[in-house]
Amino acid sequence: MKQTLIALVEDKPGVLNRVASLFRRRNFNIESLAVGHSETPGISRMTIVTDEEELLRRNVVRENLFRLINVIEVDDVTDQPTVVRETALIKVRANATKRAEIMNIADIYRARIVDVATESLIVEITGDADKINSMTDLLKPFGIIETARTGALAMTRGTVTPRDPASYAKYAAGNGKRSH
């Protein structure tokens, strides 16, 4: 199983660079990295998928990430019950005669057609990586023009969180010691 990490980080300039630079210089491989706001203002949430599988190596990756000053919490959720979702936009070659067939495939995967042009379609699919890969395989014969994927987002099931939001809420934007 590929390693999936959830990291809560301070939302400051350069933090993404620090994380990316760490993976590069330590020779860890990032499969995907998704970053955006968390439930707390001033704190961003990253989902990082690496190609490490072995537990001790995974710990080294996690601890290195945790060592960055701006990283508040890192949770390795690889072995936890987790919802993992990724969204992909796939532009497929499709003229009028192929359209129905593609829409059929999209239906099976509960994907949506979000753009229709005379010679192409854009399919939007959300799911785990396997689901997206499997639909992609089916679409290949039609001719894939381009693909854009968000990278995985992960959240553990149940009420468990990587860290109780109350414990870092005091660091949220506006509560800090900084003047602004």
């Binding site: 980080v9 301070e10 300039p13 350069g14 660079n17 620090r18 630079s21 210089r25 704190i43 001790l56 710990n59 080294v60 601890e63 290195n64 945790f66 060592r67 960055l68 000053i69 701006n70 990283v71 508040i72 919490e73 870092y168 660091y171 010691k177 900084r178 003047s179 602004h180």
Partner: protein, 565 residues
């Protein structure tokens, strides 16, 4: 309303609050306001090094002797990039320094302005943390945070880049009195009860344990606890290069240094051990040799303040992320006295074999680097001086032959192996060491020429340091590899030196030359008696080797040994 101060004044005010008394640096366009502000604060002594690399090494040397944060300053662009080697050196050796660089104005950043370099970008991988301060109101807090991060947890270099307009801008200066509280930085890690129990069971059951003592025993202040455990359990100790001094060299349980040029007995003990206790060390490739065959039959306990070191190079059975001193306090009460005579006797036999091969015993009339260093030790030992060594054969010989009895008496660039480190670091160490404690530099003819410009800094500061140049006419350590692994093709390792005595005189440094061993004592006495910097050139045998040696990639116990005398 609090007093309005400029950013530059705030920088100095904050340094004073941190207890800084000496700053090593170099001025330029982008840090002019800070230098100007400094003239109003006579409490802070500024040392003008002759190169910004020297400033960082000096701050590093100061930090290693005192355990306090060393401070270096430089201007933007070339000033800041000149610091990179010194910052990387401090990073590899966990030395707490704070570097303050000037930056072009915030409005000019990103536009390739004159002397603009992305310094936070350049130094990102070699600092523990760094900052670009774009608002003067953030400055005081940032400086306090930087010092806190540099000295706590696993110490390391922190850089603060301050644009010129931020140095000039004014704001109300209120020193942040609250302790630093960062969401993502909690340096006080502790062992769990279960970990302590597992480790203790392993320790008390071991027949052939070895303690591997690294720099962490000094940084954590745990030298006493390590020794207590060793004595209680009759456990032999070997140190890394940076662990030297943490355990008295003369202590019967101290086997000396491990690793590539470590003591044969220590390496042998590691390979045969049934338990390794790795304390504040990181299993660097220079101490493990080939990983696949490293200490194959031992259980391993690793304690380090930096969790990312655990299981990084060597897989261990008990990995404890904690401050060494705190954990050992937890352990020591329960470490049982054990009879490990058989194990200690085996080690004694290996040591006996080593001493028969010792180069110091050779009586062939050749003046050797090892003898010069040995003689410096004999001459200075009652003073327990600080020795700052550089990088190369002389560094390894110093580690082998200079018997350090006290913590923080060996300052050397271990992890990065930075040639040129010693002279500037010694200038910094001189400011940190007590007046009565001597500071000696052991440096090669190659290394001294990398930063020899700092001689003038030593003169300007009337630094009481004694520089021993071990002149073997070669980049000796590289020559050694060429002799062993490249069929004696000495590509670019013969190196000429200036007339060091004349050079010393030109600088206003006392200069002496020793070409025969019997003249050593007179020169050392003259250096010691001289108030201010002295330089002694020891002209030694050119083709000596440093043994034992574990060739890169070989098993740790497969050392090339010195022939028996």
């Amino acid at each position: 309303m609090a007093e309005m101060k400029t950013g530059a004044q705030i920088v100095i005010e904050c340094l004073i609050k941190e207890g800084v008394e000496v700053v090593f640096g170099y001025p330029g366009g982008a840090n002019l306001p800070i230098y100007d502000a400094m003239t109003f604060y006579p409490k802070i002594h500024h040392v003008l090094t002759r190169h910004e690399q020297g400033a960082t090494h000096a701050a590093d040397g100061y930090a290693r002797v005192t355990g306090q944060v060393g401070v270096a300053m430089a201007t933007s662009g070339p000033g800041a990039t000149n610091m990179v080697t010194g910052i990387a050196t401090a990073k590899m050796d966990s030395s707490p320094i704070v570097c303050i660089t000037g930056q072009v104005g915030t409005g000019a950043i990103g536009g390739d302005a004159f002397q603009e370099t992305d310094v936070t970008g350049v130094t990102l991988p070699v600092t523990k943390h760094n900052y670009l301060v774009t608002d003067v109101r953030d400055l005081a807090y940032t400086i306090k945070e930087a010092f806190y991060i540099a000295r706590t947890g696993r110490p390391g270099p922190v850089l603060i880049d301050i644009p010129k307009d931020v140095q000039n801008a004014k704001c109300e200066f209120v020193y942040p009195e609250d302790p630093i509280d960062l969401p993502g930085y909690h340096p006080a890690a502790r062992a769990t009860v279960a970990q302590v129990a597992r480790a203790l069971a392993l320790i008390n059951a071991a027949k052939k344990p070895v303690i591997l003592a690294g720099h962490g025993i000094l940084l954590s202040g745990a030298t006493g606890q390590v020794l207590e455990m060793a004595e209680k359990g009759s456990i032999p100790i070997t140190t890394t290069l940076l662990g030297i001094g943490g355990i008295p060299a003369g202590h019967p349980l101290n086997m000396g240094m491990m690793g590539m040029h470590g003591e044969a007995a220590a390496n042998q003990a590691i390979q045969e051990a049934d338990l390794l206790l790795a304390f504040g060390m990181r299993f660097d490739d220079r101490v493990t040799g080939k990983l696949a065959t490293y200490s194959p039959n031992s259980k391993k306990i690793h304690i380090d303040i930096d969790a990312s070191e655990l299981n990084k190079n060597v897989r261990v059975d008990v990995a404890i992320n904690a401050d060494l001193q705190v954990v050992l306090e937890q352990f020591n009460g329960d470490v049982e006295a054990a009879d490990r005579t058989a194990w200690l006797n085996a080690i004694r036999d290996w040591q006996e074999d080593s001493s028969q091969r010792d180069i110091i015993n050779s009586n062939d009339g050749i003046f050797r680097a090892a003898q010069a260093i040995f003689d410096v030790w004999k001459f200075t030992k009652d003073n327990n001086p600080v020795v700052v060594s550089d990088v190369g054969q002389h560094q390894m010989l110093e580690a082998q032959y200079f018997k350090h009895e006290k913590p923080h008496t060996l300052i050397t660039s271990g992890g990065l192996g930075t040639m040129g480190f010693s002279l500037p670091a010694a200038i910094g160490a001189r400011f940190g060491a007590p007046k009565g404690q001597e500071v000696w530099v052991i440096v090669g003819d190659g290394s001294i020429q990398m930063t020899i410009t700092e001689l003038m800094t030593a003169v300007q500061e009337n630094s009481n340091i004694n520089i021993c140049i071990i002149n073997n006419g070669y980049l000796g350590m590289v020559r050694q590899w060429q002799q062993l692994f490249y069929d004696e093709r000495y590509a670019e390792t013969p190196i000429l030196s200036p007339d060091y005595v004349k050079l010393a005189e030109a600088y206003g440094v006392q200069g002496l030359r020793v070409t025969k061993r019997e003249d050593t004592l007179a020169a050392l006495s003259a250096a010691k008696a001289h108030n201010g910097p002295s330089l002694i050139e020891f002209v030694v045998e050119q083709h000596d080797m440093v043994y034992p040696m574990v060739p890169a990639g070989a098993d740790l116990h497969q050392m090339i040994r010195r022939p028996t005398a």
